[in-house]
Amino acid sequence: MADQKTGDQIPVAATDISWEVRNGVTRAADVLERYLAEIERRDDDVHAFNLVLVDEARARAAEIDDNVVMGRVLGSLAGVPVALKDNMCTRGIPTTCSSRILDGWKPPYDATIVTKLRDAGAVIIGKTNLDEFAMGSSTENSAFGATHNPHDLTRVPGGSSGGSAAAVAAGFAPVSLGSDTGGSIRQPAALCGVVGVKPTYGAVSRLGLIAFASSLDQIGPMANNVADSALLLEAVSGHDPLDSTSIQQGPLEISKQLDWGVAGLRVGRITDLPEGASPDVNERLEVAFDALRAAGAEIVDVEVPAFTYGLTAYYLIAPAEASSNLARYDGVRFGLRIDAPDTNAMYLATRTEGFGDEVKRRIMLGTYALSAGYYDAYYGRALKVRRRIALDFAQAYEKVDVLLTPASPTVAFRMGDKTTDPMSMYLCDTYTIPSNLTGDPGMSVPFGTGESGLPVGVQVLAPALKEDVMFRTAAELERSMS
């Protein structure tokens, strides 16, 4: 049995924690206590968590330490605390989507990623805050109050996985899982200065992820460094027969290639990228191109003409699917019910009371886009644009291996700045949305700071299932900063 360790004696990287726990150098219980102490000290200010699973996590850490003593083989995440976005089902533990509508509901089953995390030896430390039903870019649309950016508590952490991003940035957990429908992992990662990955659609099972827009939603890792995000992604990816859209292949293999460098890689610069990124962000992007060139990559100009239509198509497709996905919250079987004289009145009262404004806005938008007489003009046309975007990216990827763009147009903005103007909030997702529409992977890598010394993220995009190349590029950017 390892000696008890505290604070600085415990490594911060998930790869190191797992190695030390498996080899009996550090106890999972000590690792956990370090993070619980940090949560205790600072989460009242940050509000990254909806729920901290103190007892469950302690029991789990003790179990892992027992396994170490008994010489059992442990998985790649042995003793690694993981924070889960609170839209992933955990058996018997409240799962809220930061919405009143799920009041009191405890899922009777675990999401596939939860099972995979357990199999890998991870310790689930808590459920993190999000924009209600993952709809938003600031984590201000939460029924339980906003999350604050650990770098500046007056600013937003981004969203919708703002809790998961803030948890990692604040040192509440070495890694976390978020979900990304239009940028909800990558944009908060950029704003909080952590790594955030949206994998290829179908690479990670969606079973147990509470749906926002089913054809776009994808679970992905958030971490302090590229290697940790690779480790977590490898652990949670792979075919799931219970998700029909899951890709029929084994877990992604990324970690082995992280040190391969970028010599000979063709890195694309999109010449017709939509404007709107602030100067500090654009400046960092140029530095990123320079760094990759210096490391032996070739920078190639490409056009992706339909990129600019992504936002419009997204704001029809995502709300349309959401309007259907969120129809089940009717007060009949679970969650909130506001009693009323008849069934229709009960639906109305429950949904009026249970959903926040942004969720209602998107349900109305989506219902309208799918309605008889409007389908062709809105939803139908958006699907055509979606196919067109996929075509344009496919053509670009004939010339390049990866593409580089900003992850977010700006650094973290002040809380309340965009809450009254939905359009300005939607524009946060300009650069991240296209890869959700195409199903291709994308990730945000922290790449220095911009205005007010706040973190800037650079986004690496790659074709479907080319996570290995995407991560190599991200790892090179990370190396160039050290």
Binding site: W105, P107, L207, T245, T343, Y347
Partner: protein, 486 residues
Amino acid sequence: MSDRPVDAELWTLRGYELVVGLEVHVELLTRTKLFSGSPNHFGDAPNTNIDPVSLGLPGALPVLNRQAVELAMRLGLALNCTIQRSTFARKNYFYPDMPKAYQISQYDEPISVDGWLDLPSGFRVGIERGHLEEDTGKSTHIGGSGGRIHGSDHSLIDFNRAGVPLVEIVSRPDIRTPEQAKSYVSELRAILIAVGASDAKMEEGSMRVDANVSVRLPGAELGTRCEIKNLNSIRSVGRAIEYEAQRQVGMIDAGENIRQETRHWDENDGRTHTLRSKEDADDYRYFQEPDLVVVDPDAGWIAQVRSSLPVLPAARRQRLADLTALQPDAEAVLVVTERGQDEYVLSVAQAGGDAGRALVHVKEAFAEQGDDPLVPAADLAKLTNLEIDGALTATQAKQVLAEIVAGNGGDAAAIAASKGFEAMDDSELESMVDDAISSQADAWMKFCAGDGKAMGALVGAVMKASKGQADGKAVTAILNERRENS
């Protein structure tokens, strides 16, 4: 088959023609539900066959049941449909027993399209499509009147049925008479059972029929249709269509317009009542189900399913008709095939028996037997041969058969002998006929004068004298011979 002239007496009502299309929902006989692993089983305690998918819980995802697809393909192929690449859509509407507030259903790309079903009469009804979809839960409304949700105190919902696989079979509006509609449902039911797709029990709701009914002057455009729901038996299908046609013709005659609406058949008062009009219809906001992928059975799979299909009822009737020189819609052919005893008649013929006599005996005496009668086919074959040879009369054969059936088999000749059914020799019969001519002189005179009815008295006398053992046909022949020679 379809070009045979059929239904010579077309159904018309004060000059109007009836136009009917049927939509039939059938529950598939799968082991588990369409999108989850819960059992698909009728009659279990409420809310025992449920899971996160059946309840539409957050985060649950559907996974398509391969057996359901295969049964849908079997049914489609049996209805002469093309099996095609198909997709699922969401049909969005709120109802308490619809757990996700949308039904997953095939919409614009169904698995089966463009088939047909031939009625026993030879009339062909086009099949537009057969598509897969999930069933809803079942609501029971407590309090209030009539078991409707409106006005009830509270409702109980059983989700056992939620997610049970259904195929909806949509006919073309080819049906022209209530009888054809009944025949269509009955034939479809026989096919469903034959291919093992469904148990098709209308009383348990595993087969549910909606009828789209309109009337028009022959050759005119289609009239406005009403959809009739709650048809729980083949009989009510006929009655409801008949009533609805009368109602619509009555309205047109009174100068009123038919409103497109959904109507409810009330078995008790024998009428249809407005359920909802077209203006109240939901906008279902169909869009492709993003949680499922395309279903595209390859040619190999389709061929394999096709080759595993059994001989279908129509072909079985035709086979029996060919063997017995009857029409395929002769009553005996219909009855025996429906009982599944046609194979048995075939095996009697194969055992050297007479198919025609065998068919009659099976129809009359095997009603209590299943599709695999206990009487050995060879025993029945022997009986039919004794009849054909004239060794037994029809009446005698019936008595012998009764014993064979009671004993689950038996030697016809031995039973006949034990009953004293010796074949009368010709001279014995002739003397009996001559006795009758003498004792019934009046009748004989009338018979000779051409009064056919008088023959009855003469035959009756012979039968009485022979204690019913004389062969009626032989008696008639002798009488005719005597008359010609007199």
